[in-house]
Symmetry: C2
Subunit: 134 residues, 2 copies
DNA sequence: CTGTATGCAAATCATTTGCAGCTTA
DNA sequence: TAAGCTGCAAATGATTTGCATACAG
């Protein structure tokens, strides 16, 4: 079940890619492809929306970016680490923080004891107020 | 911020609606509009996909059905109660169980004490093995 | 130079909508 | 009967893809 090395493909560090990663890194909240495109278009006039989509797909594959479906059907993207974690989303500013898993582990044990459900995977999103907005 | 009573609209119990609800009730796992359509088409030849969508929208509004985005971009729908709860999804059969919130409340307290994050809302999905598939 | 990435425009595909005819209450 | 539904076909809107050209290494 190993990932096949498929003849090493060199990934180029182009200006478009750098710009997209930089934006995601500085924003740290869910952005749609269209939003990213609109934000960078002025600085990079020849940028194409398809390039944004292709770059995001690449980043999600690398684990550098996490994605989720927004309520309106669009996809949102955030910069994040690839370690297992969950998102704490501020309802005031949209800032996305990562939540460590220690508390989650305790919760998992609790769930097993009280509902005898064997927890393998979980997807969690928390909505509340971050330190700055409190 | 109250919901306006908007001149009471009578909701008809049509055969198409009954069929869709019955299917969701008996399956108890995430189904896409297309899947539902394909499953009922043989029995109801004149059924239209748009009717399936319109019915699902109605059910989600009533709280009878819960929806989520599948990985391939389609929307999945499950029958469920309208009380606040979370889903425990069996990775073997896809069966969706509801998880009560007591454990969640304890988790919330834990999160506040250890990461000082004020939890307002949360969206959780658990993946594991249900009693039948264990 | 050579393998990658990009822009552009056209193609997909799930979901939505307008409208005239059909049903339910 | 009237208020709600439904099917049908066409419209929408996000995302994807083919291809010739531009660029990074």
């Amino acid at each position: 079940m190993q990932q096949q090395p498929r003849s090493v493909r060199t990934i180029y560090a182009t200006s478009a890619r750098r710009a997209i990663v930089d934006l995601l890194k500085s924003e740290r909240r869910y952005l749609t492809a269209a939003t990213i495109f609109a934000a960078l278009k002025p600085a990079i006039p020849k940028l194409a929306l398809s390039t944004v989509y292709r770059t995001l797909e690449l980043l999600v594959g690398k684990g550098t970016v996490s994605t989720r479906a927004e309520t309106n059907g669009e996809a949102g993207f955030v910069f994040c680490t690839d370690a297992h974690h969950h998102h704490a989303i501020c309802t005031a500013c949209g800032h996305v923080d990562e939540v460590d898993c220690d508390a989650m582990e305790r919760f998992k044990l609790d769930l097993l004891q009280n509902q005898s459900f064997v927890l393998d995977e979980h997807a969690v999103e928390f909505f509340g107020r971050c330190a700055r907005c409190r």
